[in-house]
Symmetry: C2
Subunit: 427 residues, 2 copies
Amino acid sequence: MRIEIICTGDEVLTGKIVNTNFSYMSQKLEDVGLAVQWETTVGDHREDLLRAFQLAGERADAVIVNGGLGPTVDDLSQEIAAQAAGVDLVLHEGWLARMEDMFQRRSRVMPPNNRKQAMLPATAEMIDNPVGTACGFAVDIGKARFFFTPGVPRELRRMLEEQIIPRLLARSGVQTTIYLKRFHSYGLGESHVDAMLKGIEDLVPEGTVKLGFRAHYPQLETKLTVRGTDMDDVRTKLAPVEQEVRKRLGNFILAEDDATLEGTILNHLTQGHATLSIVEMFTSGQIAARVAPLPGAEAVFRRGVVARSVADIYTAVGLTDAPLDGAVTPAMAETIAITARRQTGATHALAVLVELDAGADRMDFGGTICLAIATAHDVASRRSRIVGGREWVRLGAVEMGLDCLRRYLQGLPVQERIDFEKTDEKP
Amino acid sequence: MRIEIICTGDEVLTGKIVNTNFSYMSQKLEDVGLAVQWETTVGDHREDLLRAFQLAGERADAVIVNGGLGPTVDDLSQEIAAQAAGVDLVLHEGWLARMEDMFQRRSRVMPPNNRKQAMLPATAEMIDNPVGTACGFAVDIGKARFFFTPGVPRELRRMLEEQIIPRLLARSGVQTTIYLKRFHSYGLGESHVDAMLKGIEDLVPEGTVKLGFRAHYPQLETKLTVRGTDMDDVRTKLAPVEQEVRKRLGNFILAEDDATLEGTILNHLTQGHATLSIVEMFTSGQIAARVAPLPGAEAVFRRGVVARSVADIYTAVGLTDAPLDGAVTPAMAETIAITARRQTGATHALAVLVELDAGADRMDFGGTICLAIATAHDVASRRSRIVGGREWVRLGAVEMGLDCLRRYLQGLPVQERIDFEKTDEKP
C-alpha cells in the first residue's frame, strides 16, 4: 500500500513551525509496519492545495492530510477536498451539535465562524476528534482514500492512533497484530548495537520481528517491531528475541518501553526510601533538571548545587581545603560526593566534575569528566574523556552521571567502556 | 519567482530525523524576501526522486534539493539529477583534487567511494562546500534552476547563505539589499505586539519594511525585513522604524539581533564587576543552566542552589527559621535572596520560588511565582500567577526570573503586567 502525507499551512511552509507533526506521523506508521513514501508541504493556497491533492490521488492508495481544518478563512482543507472529490460541501448536523455542546460545557457561546468546521464533503466519512472542534474526515480523491486531520498536535495524535491507523491497517489487508518493543541504552553507538544484535531477527520465522533504531545522542533506542495473529502470538514470538537483546546489551539497557533513565533512578531511590543530592560543574544544573521535576521526586531529591569551579564547589559543600587549580580527579569527586551527602543529609550524593580543554569550541574539543557516587558506607567513582565540542561534552557528562548512578543503584559496574569516550589521555 | 524545496533521504522521510533543514532554509529565504511555495520529501528511491525533480521542474523557477550527495550507494542526487537533466555524469577533476587534499591534510587516504562525490552532471555549475566533501552544484531541469545541497546542517548553512541565496536574489532580478532587524521580547503575545506595532510599516514608503514574528514561548521575536538599494539606503529606511519599535515595546525588549536575554544579563554583570548566585525551586536548575555555561560566566556565576521545597531552600542557604508549609510570598523570596547573596559572597542573588496548584497536570493547571533580587543595599521582588500546565509554568518561571533580573540590572521596573500572567488570585 502506497501512503503519502500532505502537510498544509503557511506556518509550516515558511518554517515558522518545525514540522514535527510529519516526523511523528511517519514514525507512528513505521512502528505498525506501514511506510510513508512521499510527503508534500503546501501553504494555505487554493491552487497549490488542489494540485497537491490531485497529484497524491494519482500516485497513492492512502493519503493523510494534516492541517487546514480550523475556523478561520485561511483554513481551506474541507473546501478543496470537496472540490478535488467533485462533490459539494454539506453541513454535518451531528458535528455541529457536538461543537455547540463543547462550547456550552465551557459556558461559552459558539462563535458563528466555527460552523465552518462542520462543513464536510458530501461523500465524506466523519472521523471523531474527542479533544477539539476540528472534525476529521475521510474521502476518496482519485484512486486514493484521503484522511484529513487537525494541525493541533494533541488532536492529531489521538485521531491518528485511535482512528486512522486502524483504518489504514484494515485497508492494507494484512490481518496482523503489530507490537513495538523498545530498549533504551547509553554508551553504545547505533552501528555498534546493530553489530551486537546481528542475526537476532533469525531467531523467529522470517519477517516476524524487524530490528530498528532511533538515535538521539546520548541515548539510543533499539526497536523491535513484531507481527503476529494476535497479542498472544506476538508475545510468543517476541519472547526469545527480547531475552536475547537483554542478554547481548546487558548492563547498557537503562530502561525499556516508556520508562526513562531518570525514572529508573527515581524508582530505585523511592523503593529504597533513599534521598539524593547532586553537585554539578559545567553541566550547569542540567543533571538536577532531569531528576528534580519528576512527579514523586519531592520525596527523594534533597538538594542540587551548581558551581563553575572545583574551588567554588569545595566552598559550597563546606570544605575548606580547596585544591589549587589543577586537573580534576576521581578522588576530588569522591571527597565532594561524601561531603555533600553528609552536609545535606541525603542517603546518596552524585558529584559530576568536568574540566574542559583549553581553546575555542571545535569538533575535536573535549573535556575530562570525573564523577563519584557516595553513600554512608561506600563511594564509587570514574574518570572519562569525551570529545566532540562543548555541547557534546556537556550532554555526555549529564548522561554519564545519571547512567553511572543508575548502574550503582542496580549493583552494576560503574566503570564500563563506552563508545563515546576516548581512551587517550588529554594532550 | 516560484521557489520549491525537495528534501531527500529515508531518515527524513521515515521521521527518524525531524526536518529542521527545511524550516531553516525556508526561514532564511523569508528573511531575504524570498518565499518557498512547495516542499516535497522523498526517500532514497530512484523513481520517486526522478518524479519529484520532474514535477518541480515543471512548476518552479528555482528548486533547492537537500541531501543525497554523500559517498554511499543510497546517495543518489547527482545520478538522478543527470538523468532528469538528460546529460551524463562526468568527473569534476577540481573537486576530486580538493577532496584528496582535505584527506591528506588530516593524514588520511581518501576511500575509493568518495570519488563518487566528484561526479557531477555534465552541464552542472559547481558550488563550493568549504566545510565538507559533498560538492554542491546547480543544473537546469525542465524550466527551473536546481541547486543541490548537502544534508549535513553545518555544510548546508554555509552553502545556502554564501552561495545559493546570492544566486537566487540575482535570478529574482530585484537589485536590492535586504537586511533583517530583530527584537526579542518576553511577556507580550504575538497578536498583542502586532497591535502595538500597527501602522509601523507606513512610516516608510510602501514595501520597504515588512513586519513579521517568530513566537517561541516564552520569548517572541519581532522581525523587520528591510529592502534598499544598498546598506546605506537600508540604514536610512530602517532608522525611523526601529526607533519607533523601541519606543512602543519599551521595557519589553530584552535584546536585539543575535543578543540573548542571558547574554544581556552577563554583560551587565561583567561590566559592573558583579557576581551572581541563583536559588531555584521547581525550575530545577534551568535558570542556572541558562547563565552558567556562557563563555565568560566563570568570572560572574558564583553558585546555584536547587531544592524542592521552601524549607529545603531555607536550610540550604543557612536559614534556621524555615516557615511551616504555606503559600510562597515575595517576603520569603526576599529573605532567601538576601541570605544567599551574603552566604555565597556574590554582589547579586536571584531567588525564584514556585508553588504549584494541587491536582493533576492539565491545560488550566497553574503556579504561583515569587521572585526576588538582592544586592548589598537593596532588594526587589514580584509575585505572579501563570496558568497553562506544569511545563508552561516552568518555562514561564525561568524566563520571568531572568527577565526581572535583566530589568533590575537595567534600572527598569521589575513589576510590569505581562500577557501570560493571570491577575485573578489562586482559587
